[in-house]
């Protein structure tokens, strides 16, 4: 019997214009590790929710067909009962925290399943041990970092002991090392404990080669299901942006091999390229921080930091969770007064928060974009022209009359940026703009940022995503424990380091896919010649 079975399932959310799942059929066998891929909005999250009966019991809407999980039909059993058969870890760990203490949080599910009281504590502690989080047992959930919260969220589900684990983009808020650790943990749980695992994820680099099966979704349907090598061959033609960055580099170079991991790529290549500095555009400084100290709460989040944002360039600000990246962006944007040091600005700065919902204040998309101009008393004709230009540039003209909270997450992100860029800031700081974005949307965002930089804007991009930084940025500023390690270094550093390194950089010695592809073509030519 399949651990999870979708039989000709169609589903529409209440008021939804189109089906979120469209005659979907899929069987997941016991012990399988299934990687679920597809662009944002293709139905991955809906599929995971349907597997636990949250669709339709919690969300409402119309469901046709049958979903069977652990032998239970989701139409006949509510999520509370289905929770014995499957556990779901959501994308945002903070949104799923119920209790104040970590052990109470992990125990919550066990208590809901009416576990024998004497066994609850031991199982909760064991689950924390399994995710390497015993050190967090005495902490309050409010004091945990994003990575720690996600570990506790997984422990909370693991403790319940279901045979099926569902994860919805669990690494979207984690730095590269924390994301690697988490995915290694998920793989270990699947391999060692035999827990059937279905994982939806945009950062495919680590997991693509490890999965037993890759399922690709498109418009609510399964468009492909097969082994990772089969999926790579198919996606190389249809949707290469869904593949691991290193595979994309090989495809771009025209080489026939499709390595799915850095290790495989290294084995195929035998050698890495010599490091080669790529100079960024030499623009004047739009913002310069000089020996800045800044506090967040009781902590010195920036310590003696000197950093520059150059006009006409995109600078990535990279570092682990809690390194001080956001603080640096806030100081550069003039939103946080430094405790010591000086900030030189050459024009107004704009800041896009990591939560686009924080930018949504007005009733329509057009009003939202116009808001800053209205308060700046920009003449009406000029205001209309600039709002119209910005809506066009960000692809929002067709939704100009809609309520901002009715937009998709990608549209919200673009609206948040447009609401800031309409004021024509000399420097634009974006805090983690790629959270939860699929590969195609990241490419579109990179194009947008390049167009802003081409207009002379200094773009500062706070990000964990080394692969995106390599593709989009000209310069890289790295930061650790409040201190700048490298200020405005050429992006080639993303092929050299240990922490701030793109997957393509690890395999080939070239940070960006196009640079790696060019080098791969040369090495292929040399081999042919030899």
């Amino acid at each position: 019997m399949a651990a999870l079975s979708f039989q000709d399932v169609s589903y529409s959310y209440p008021g939804g214009a189109r089906a979120a799942l469209d005659r979907l059929t899929l069987d997941v066998e016991p012990g399988e590790l299934v990687l679920l891929l597809g662009e944002s909005g293709c139905g991955k999250s809906t599929l995971l929710r349907a597997a636990l009966g949250l669709v339709p019991h919690f969300h409402g809407g119309r469901l046709a067909g049958r979903v069977i999980v652990g032998g239970l039909d989701t139409r006949e059993h509510r999520p509370g009962e289905l929770a014995r058969a499957a556990g779901l870890v959501f994308q945002d760990p903070e949104a799923q925290l119920v209790a104040e203490g970590v052990v109470s949080e992990v125990a919550f599910g066990l208590e809901s399943l009416a576990t024998e009281p004497g066994r609850i504590e031991a199982r909760a502690e064991e689950a924390l041990m399994a995710v390497g989080a015993t050190g967090l047992a005495d902490r309050s959930t409010g004091s945990l970092s994003g990575g720690e919260q996600q570990r506790v969220a997984i422990a909370s589900v693991l403790a319940m002991g279901q045979p099926l684990l569902l994860l919805d983009e669990p690494t979207s808020q984690l730095d590269p090392v924390a994301a690697e650790e988490l995915l290694a943990l998920v793989t270990r749980i699947n391999r060692d404990r035999g827990v059937t695992t279905v994982l939806a994820e945009h950062r495919t680099g680590r997991l693509f080669g490890e999965a037993d099966r890759v399922v690709v979704m498109d418009a609510g349907r399964v468009s492909f299901s097969g082994t990772p090598p089969e999926a790579a061959r198919r996606l190389a033609l249809d949707a290469p942006w869904l593949l691991p960055p290193v595979t994309q580099a090989f495809i771009a170079s025209g080489r026939p091999e499709l390595p799915l991991t850095v290790r495989e790529a290294k084995r195929l290549l035998g050698t890495r390229a010599e490091s080669q500095a790529v100079a960024g555009p030499a623009g004047d400084a739009a913002v310069r921080l000089e020996r800045v100290w800044a506090r967040r709460g009781q902590v010195d989040a920036l310590r003696d930091v000197t950093a520059t944002l150059a006009a006409g360039a995109i600078t990535a600000v990279m570092g682990e969770n809690g390194a001080g990246k956001t603080t640096l962006a806030l100081v550069a944007a003039g939103l946080l007064e430094p405790r010591k040091g000086r900030v030189h600005t050459y024009g107004r700065s704009g800041y896009v928060s990591q939560n686009p919902a924080h930018h949504l204040l007005r009733e329509t998309v057009a009003e939202e974009v116009a808001h800053a101009l209205e308060l700046a008393r920009t003449p009406a004709a000029e205001r209309r022209r600039r709002v119209s230009d910005e809506l066009e540039r960000f692809g929002l003209a067709s939704v100009a009359g809609r309520h901002p909270h009715d937009l998709s997450s990608g549209e919200r992100q673009r609206l948040a940026i447009a609401s800031v860029t309409v004021g024509r800031p000399a420097a634009l700081l974006l805090d983690e703009p790629t959270r939860g974005m699929d590969g195609l949307r990241k490419l579109a965002l990179a194009d947008l940022l390049r167009s802003l930089a081409a207009d002379g804007t200094a773009v500062g991009l706070v990000t964990h995503d080394a692969d995106f930084a390599a593709e989009a940025c000209d310069l890289v500023t790295t930061i650790a424990r409040g201190r700048v390690l490298a200020d405005a270094a050429p992006r080639s550093v993303l092929s050299e380091g240990a922490f701030f390194v793109s997957q393509v950089g690890l395999a080939t010695g070239r940070a960006r896919t196009s640079e790696a592809a060019a080098w791969l073509r040369i090495t292929a030519g040399e081999r042919l010649h030899a």
Binding site: L88, V98, S112, S156, Y351, L361, A372, A416
Partner: protein
């Protein structure tokens, strides 16, 4: 900390602050509440600010609304509705009222910071399960709401919009409500995904009461005894028409007893586990 060991000393200090008249006992109760709060996990500053502001306001207003006392200190111009004569008794009564308010607020604050929220919710859940869950989740949403409000203001400033004036500040309400609704739905979904509402629940057994909690219970009982003595009229004190001697032996003895027992409770809280 378990609810009972936190509730007993804090509750007794609260009762002392509410029922005692003697200024030294009121001061002792306020001091012990402050030390208990400082010994509890942070934050402390917002609670102390609130208590001091509320108490300070009462102390400042009382001389101008009271019309009692026979020891005038100052006389100002006649103003409608206000008593422009300030007496020593009015000042002392205002100071005592401030101590009463500060002591009460700090005792409640100390309990809030000391008690384990999950254990408290479990205790209430035995009587009213749904209310306990709603209360606990509501309490968790408040700091999130505060963070969202700060995030919205920051994001607005990031595009050159200052949400300071009253008209623009009201713009916070709609996005905050939208965000809170989204968060509440996400949380409710996560709870259901973890089996909530699927049938009867169990609860992990409460851990054993440890030594410092037993000391706190003892201190709480002793403080309750002192409350009983105050209620029985052991240390009476009157402010009007003339002030009693604050250094009466009963008053001093009871205040010292409150400080000693309160100090024991503070020591128990600070004692490492």
């Amino acid at each position: 900390m378990k609810p009972l060991p936190a509730a007993l000393p804090c509750g007794a200090l609260l009762l002392l602050a509410v029922t005692a008249d003697h200024p030294l006992i009121l001061a002792a109760a306020a001091l012990c509440s402050l030390l208990l709060l400082l010994a509890a996990p942070p934050p402390h500053a917002p609670y102390i600010w609130f208590a001091v502001l509320a108490g300070g306001l009462v102390a400042a207003i009382n001389p101008f609304v009271g019309v009692q006392g026979l020891t005038p200190l100052w006389r100002g111009p006649d103003l409608p509705l206000l008593d422009s004569e300030v007496t020593a008794e009015e000042l002392a009564f205002g100071a005592a009222a401030a101590l009463r308010i500060i002591g009460s607020a700090l005792a409640v604050s100390a309990f809030v910071r000391l008690v384990d929220g999950d254990m408290l919710a479990r205790g209430i859940a035995r009587v009213a399960p749904r209310s306990a869950m709603i209360g606990s989740l509501g309490a968790r949403l408040l700091p999130t709401l505060e963070r969202d409000a700060a995030g919205i203001v920051l994001a607005a400033r990031g595009r050159g919009v200052e949400l300071r004036r009253r008209r623009t500040a009201t713009e916070l309400v709609a996005p905050l409500v939208s965000l809170s609704l989204e968060r509440s739905l996400a949380l409710a979904e996560a709870m259901e995904a973890r089996g909530y509402g699927g049938g009867p629940r169990t609860a992990r057994p409460a851990r054993r009461t440890d030594t410092r909690e037993r000391v706190l219970i003892g201190a709480g009982v002793a403080l309750a005894g002192l409350v009983a003595a105050v209620l029985a009229g052991a240390a009476p004190y009157t402010y009007y028409d003339l002030l009693d001697d604050p250094l009466s032996s009963a008053g001093v003895a009871l205040a010292m007893a409150v400080v000693a027992v309160g100090g024991l409770a503070v020591g128990a809280v600070r004692w490492p586990r």
